[in-house]
């Protein structure tokens, strides 16, 4: 399990390849890899988005991301989890978050990946501030 909070733009596919090649014990153990990548759109709530600042509470964010990953590892028969999350200044088309799950079989990999992204979005302390032509605005919590 690896959790990374990064300020600079990252390439999720390089992150996944690097993580997998750095875990020789994984080789032969997984038959499924499920990946979710969240990317910054250039539109939101009817406005063009020029940039976004992602604020976080570093030690608390790290702690809760680790906890969500530990929960997934305990709940499903999965081999490994990689979570990479941006913070700071982002441009449209920048990956924001990458969740990768390695498992023997795809069902648990899909379920765990879905759990990880849904839980981290409601529990990890991140706040989005968008820059639109109207200025900067904090993104309010979306209604379910």
């Amino acid at each position: 399990m690896k959790i990374r909070l990064v300020e600079q733009a990252f390439d999720p596919w390089q992150e996944i390849a690097r993580h997998q090649s750095g875990q020789p014990a994984l080789a032969g153990k997984f038959g499924a890899t499920v990946v979710f990548v969240g990317t910054l759109r250039d539109f939101n709530q009817g406005d063009a988005v020029q940039a976004m600042t992602l604020e976080h509470y570093a030690p608390m964010t790290q702690k809760h991301l680790e906890r969500v990953a530990e929960e997934a590892l305990a709940r499903w028969p999965i081999e490994d989890v990689l979570l990479v999350h941006r913070y700071g200044e982002l441009q449209p088309n920048d990956p924001i978050v990458c969740v990768a799950v390695w498992a023997a079989h795809r069902d648990s990999a899909f379920d765990a990946c879905r759990y990880l992204i849904d839980e981290l979005k409601t529990r990890a302390p991140f706040w989005k501030q968008e820059l639109t032509e109207k200025g900067r605005r904090w993104v309010e919590k979306e209604k379910d």
């Binding site: 509470y57 981290l120 979005k121 409601t122 302390p125 991140f126 706040w127 904090w138």
Partner: protein, 78 residues
């Protein structure tokens, strides 16, 4: 004998500060920390964390704790 206070996002902007250190005297719970440091009523829906764990405003706090106040987290829609 002090408590560290942290504010984030729109709350940080409204208060004009991101961190504070307050004396423990007269402080028993997280809401007291807010009252002493912010000086305005706690906005509805404000989330509270004590030592990086989500907490209720009435959670007891003590010397050395870090208490944070922030708006609902905005990870994104489904």
């Amino acid at each position: 004998m002090s408590i560290t206070v942290r504010f984030f996002a729109s709350i940080r902007e409204k208060l004009g500060k991101e961190q504070d250190i307050i004396e423990c005297k007269g402080i028993t719970c997280a809401a007291d920390v807010w009252g002493k440091s912010a000086g305005v009523p706690l906005p509805p829906n404000t989330l509270v964390a004590v030592n990086m764990e989500y907490a209720r405003p009435d959670q007891p706090v003590r010397d050395g704790d870090e208490v944070a106040f922030f708006p609902p987290v905005t990870g994104g829609a489904r």
